[in-house]
Every structure is written in C-alpha cells, then in structure tokens.
C-alpha cells in the first residue's frame, strides 16, 4: 500500500479481530481490520463512537482486559516483529518505549497520588535504566519540549494542581520519553477546552516531526483529521470501510458511509434548514450480520450487500474501499 515517501510500514495490522465475551453475548468490537502505518507518517482513524477505533489501538499494545476481551485472530507487526505472540515481559518493554499511547481524558489518566515528576521519570527509569537523578533531569528536559513553563515546579506538582491542557502536555511528555517509533493518540484533544485543542494538536504534530515518529491519530473530529493526517482510515462497526490519502477522503470519497459523513459537515457560509444526518443507528455489536454492516442505512444498497461481506479492494492507487457499489 504505497503512496508514501517510504514504502516501509513501521506498524502493520492484518485482519485483526478483537471480541468481548459478555453476559449479553459476544461483542465483535474489531471484526477483521487491516491497515499499515508508515515511517514518519500520520494515519488518521475516524469513525463514530463504538466503531472499534480505540479497541484496535489497545489491541496493538495488548491492553485489552482479558477476562471479557480476547484478541481472537490477526497479526500485528512492529517493523516485521510479531507483537501478538510476544511474551508479556517483552511486550512491556515495547509499551511506552517503542510504541506509546496518549489517552483522551487528562483529568483521570494521571495517578492522583504521585507527582508528575514521579510518573514522568518512571518512564526513563524503567526503559532506559537511568538513576533517579538522571531520570529527573531528562524529565525536565522533555517537559520543556512540551511547552510547559517552569518544569521544575511542575515536577513536584500533583495532577489535580494542573489545568487540563497542562495535564495533557504532561501525558504527551510521558509518551515521548521513550522516543517511540509509533505514537498512538486516542482522541487527544476531545476532552480539552476548545481554545486549548488547537495548541495541543499543533504541539503533537510538531513533536512528531522532531522525534521522527509515526503516528496513529484516532478521532471522530474530521477537522483534526484534515489538519493532521496524511492518510485516513474510516471505520464503521468494527470494520474498515475506506482508506485513502486525506485529500481523497474529503474530496473523492467512494464509500457511501464516508460520503454521508462528508455531507454532514456543515459548510461555513452555506445556509441550510436542517443539518444533514445519516438515518438509522449503528448496529449493536452483539448481533451477527452476514452482509455489509452499513447495508440497512445505505442509500446505494443492492441485494449482494445483504448476503456477502464486502472486503476492502484497491479501487485506485492507494485508495481502498469495502463496497460493492
């Protein structure tokens, strides 16, 4: 899948299936998803809440809670090395080190009873085996890089003493500490004040370039995708429905779902009576649906859509669509 400068995928996911076993049945949160992340590239993953974009990311790091959850099948490779079969000890050395993740809620994602400095320098102590003093020094450096004023003070502060934006910067610092090859950002700005959102996004994009990382940017906000991503994967009900360069997704989308999404974006200056919406609801993850999961809401549905599940096919160079249309 090459439209990048580098043809080498840093991270590659093949036919991943992650299911959850609950009292109500089996929930197929991720049901056969494949995509690649290229060195230095940014992959945006968009979709509604519950479409499986976060679960895919958690599966990469094997952070799925295993009593109810299970990575049923699939392959995930980091620079050719299989991750799913790795012993947990090795997996832990990859987490926070070669692949890092930042989460949506800075309010609750930091441990309230430990100082920022403690939590941040832990990364250095753990993965680079540094002494406490050296680790603290590096922590201060990286806090600077994350545009945090007076890092020494922040080192000794507790999470509840900082604002949301500062906390998110601290989280970013923690993620970057190990100089990872891949950064997974799961809705990094959604929970922040609108005024701070742009700042944080800019920070993330700048640091990504500086550190030379690849990034998976998970969001439901198309504006963020437009700004930050180079390639985009659109997910629906646990499946990948379309994948293309960002401009193609916005201007020449081919899957009916993507088209509907683009249509529903209000355009500045254009006055409409009603906002466009997609009629219907996302199917419950417990139901097993033989054909295409979007069929019951699709304006272009044909008989085949109800019987067979469409697989992603490369319609044009670098543009994959899972549809019979």
């Amino acid at each position: 899948m090459a439209t990048e400068n580098n043809n080498v995928p840093v991270l590659s996911i093949r036919d991943l299936r992650t299911y959850f076993h609950t009292q109500e049945g089996v929930s197929r949160a991720v049901d056969g998803v494949s995509y690649d992340v290229f060195r230095g590239g940014t992959l945006g993953v968009v979709g509604e809440s519950g479409c499986g974009k976060s679960v895919t990311a958690l599966s990469i790091l094997r952070l799925i809670p295993t009593p109810p959850g299970e990575i049923v099948s699939g392959e995930i490779q980091l620079e050719g090395q299989d991750l799913l079969g790795l012993p947990m000890k090795k997996m832990r050395s990859i987490r926070g080190n070669q692949i890092s993740m930042i989460f949506q809620e800075p309010m609750t994602s930091l441990n309230p009873v430990f100082t920022i400095g403690n939590q941040l320098s832990k990364v250095f102590r753990l993965h680079q085996n540094l002494s406490r003093k050296k680790a603290d020094k590096k922590a201060i450096e990286i806090l600077y890089a994350c545009e945090i004023p007076s890092p020494e003070r922040v080192m000794n502060a507790y999470p509840h003493q900082l604002s949301g934006g500062m906390r998110q910067r601290a989280m970013i610092a923690m993620a970057l500490g190990g100089n990872p090859k891949v950064l997974i950002a799961d809705e990094p700005t959604t929970a922040l004040d609108v005024t701070i959102q742009a700042q944080i996004l800019d920070l993330i994009l700048r640091l990504k370039k500086e550190f030379g990382m690849a990034m998976i940017l998970i969001t439901h906000n198309l504006g963020i995708v437009a700004k930050g991503a180079q390639r985009v994967v659109v997910m629906y009900a646990g499946e990948k429905v379309e994948e293309a360069d960002v401009s193609d997704i916005f201007e020449r989308s081919q899957h009916p779902y993507t088209k509907a999404l683009m249509n529903s974006i209000p355009v500045l200056g254009k006055r409409t009576k009603f906002l466009e919406e997609i009629k219907g609801v996302v199917p419950a993850p417990f139901r097993f649906i033989p054909g295409c999961k979007f069929a019951d809401r699709c304006p272009e549905v044909i008989a085949q859509c109800l019987e067979t599940r469409p697989q992603p096919r490369e319609r044009e160079r670098g543009h994959w669509v899972a549809c019979f249309c």
Binding site: S49, S54, V55, P65
Partner: protein
C-alpha cells in the same frame, strides 16, 4: 385533599423492579443461597422448637442429672451439658432467644433512630445539628463497651441487655435515614406536594418516610447477625440472658469449665452463633452486590 396521581410514582416503583431483579441475582450466587438457607433453618427452628427438639423440657431448662456431660451419641447427637441437658435441644431453644432479641432490637433501634433521622434530615438547621452531634457522641464509644457499661449499670437480665444493645446502635440508623431524607427532599415530588398545599408534617410522613425506609430495611436485615453476636457476647459475660433460659453465649461460657475434655458444650453452641452470623453476612453481601449497579456493568467502552 387527594394527591395528584403522578406523585405516587416515585422511587417506590423503582425499588419494586430492583427487588425482583435483585432476587434473581441473589439466588444466582451459591454462597448467598447458602446463607439464606441457614437463616430459614434458624427461623423454622426457633418457631417450632417445642415440636422439633428431641427434649423440649431440657431445652427450656430442666436438668437431667443422670446424664451429665455425655459425649455426642445417637441419643444426644450433640452431647449433654453439665446439668445433663441435651445440647441440641438447648441450641434450638437458644435460636428462639436469638431471633427474638434480633427482632426486638431492630424494632427499638428503628423506632428511635428513624424518626430522629427524619427530623434531622427534613428540618435541618439547629435541629439537625443537635441530633447529629448527640448521635456522633454515642458513636464515639466502642459500641460493645458502651453496651457492657449500660448493662452493668442497669443490672444483668435479658431486657436490659436488649436496651443496652439498642442504645449504642440507633445512631447508625439516624445517619442512614437522614442521608436519604436529605436527598429526597430536593426531589420533584416534594415540590409538587407543597404546591398542592400539603403540610410539612404530611410531607414528612406520607411522602418522604416511606421512600427512605428501603435502605433501612436492608440494613436492619444485615444487622441482625451482629445483634445476635452482641447478645451472645453479653451472655458470655453473664450480662444477658440468665439461666436456666437457653442462650448460645451463656452456653459457651458454661462449657468453659469443662472445655478441654468435654469440648462439645462450647463448641456446638459457639458454632451455632458462628453459622447464624455467617449466614446473615453472606446474605447481606449477596443483597448488596445484587443491588449495586456498578458491579453489573463489566463491559467497558469500545
């Protein structure tokens, strides 16, 4: 003046649905069912002791000096005590005392604690402060200690023991009810009652009180086990039921003299206490888990 219809729907319906669903969840847990089973056995034994026990006279206290200190055998499955009385019968009669005590204490504690909690929560202000300060002062004492002191002052007999257990206990219920009342009085149906012209007293008793009783009932059921434990502790010290009435705690104490050789007197009577308290605790845990919405939500976000 009749209250408008929609007012009757309130939290009462909620609780009914929860109860049915709760019963299902309770019975799913084997330990809870076990606890429930034991409690039923105790209740039946207590109610029908004169018909069920092999030697009802001995259960009531008549001695049989020919058969003192017999080890467990067919004729006396749990042995006999130092006055020749059949232990099994005594334990069965002991169940009557224990259950009677539990019910009486719960009644006393509720009749003191609930109204005070209602007043404190609803009226607020100075009344609330005074009542809660007093309650906190009593709670500052280790409760069994206070109970011992009270019985020691009043004189050792069953009634005084029941009073002594109730007095340190009611503040918990006051707190419980007060909390409920405070959250209830902000609710819509109180506003509508007031708007229709109901008096404060009527609101308190007809609307708020019934809705705040559910947690009290649950708590009271759970507490019964501990009430039995307290009574047996007082009995052990000689501060509760007086001989010849059969009381589990007293039996354990009676058996102490002979304990190293005739172990069955204290062991079985103490075992009865343990099983009963265990049963109430297991039931209590099951009820609490069944009614807790958080535990049922195991599936997290996608």
């Amino acid at each position: 003046m009749k209250m408008p219809c929609n007012e009757r729907l309130g939290k009462r319906d909620f609780y009914k649905r929860d109860y049915l669903r709760g019963m299902n969840l309770i019975l799913r847990n084997p330990l809870t069912t076990f606890g429930l089973g034991i409690i039923l056995i105790v209740i039946i034994t207590a109610l029908f002791a004169p018909y069920l026990s092999p030697y009802p006279d001995q259960g009531r206290g008549f001695s049989n000096l020919d058969e003192r200190l017999l080890s467990p055998r067919l004729k006396h499955p749990l042995g006999t005590d130092n006055l020749g009385r059949d232990i099994l019968s005594r334990i069965m009669y002991g169940a009557r005392i224990s259950l009677k005590a539990a019910v009486i204490v719960v009644l006393i504690v509720s009749s003191i604690g609930v109204p005070l909690g209602l007043l404190a929560g609803y009226l607020g202000g100075k009344v609330d402060e005074v009542i809660m300060r007093f309650a906190d002062m009593i709670l500052a004492f280790p409760s069994l200690l206070l109970a011992i002191a009270i019985v020691a002052s009043l004189g050792p007999n069953l009634i005084n023991a029941l009073i002594a257990i109730s007095l340190p206990w009611w503040p918990w219920y006051t707190r419980l009810v007060r909390g409920q009342v405070i959250s209830l009085k902000e609710m819509q149906f109180v506003e509508s009652a007031r708007a229709v012209g109901a008096s404060e007293l009527r609101i308190m008793f007809r609307h708020i009180l019934p809705n705040s009783l559910s947690p009290v009932i649950v708590q009271a059921t759970l507490d019964m086990g501990y009430i039995i434990l307290y009574l047996s502790a007082l009995g052990f010290l000689g501060l509760g039921t007086q001989p010849p009435t059969a009381d589990w705690g007293v039996m354990v104490s009676d058996g102490r003299e002979f304990f190293l050789t005739q172990w069955w007197i204290s062991t079985f009577s103490g075992g009865a206490i343990f099983l009963t308290v265990l049963a109430f605790n297991l039931l209590g845990d099951g009820v609490r888990e069944a009614l807790d919405p958080k535990i049922r939500w195991k599936f997290q976000r996608t």
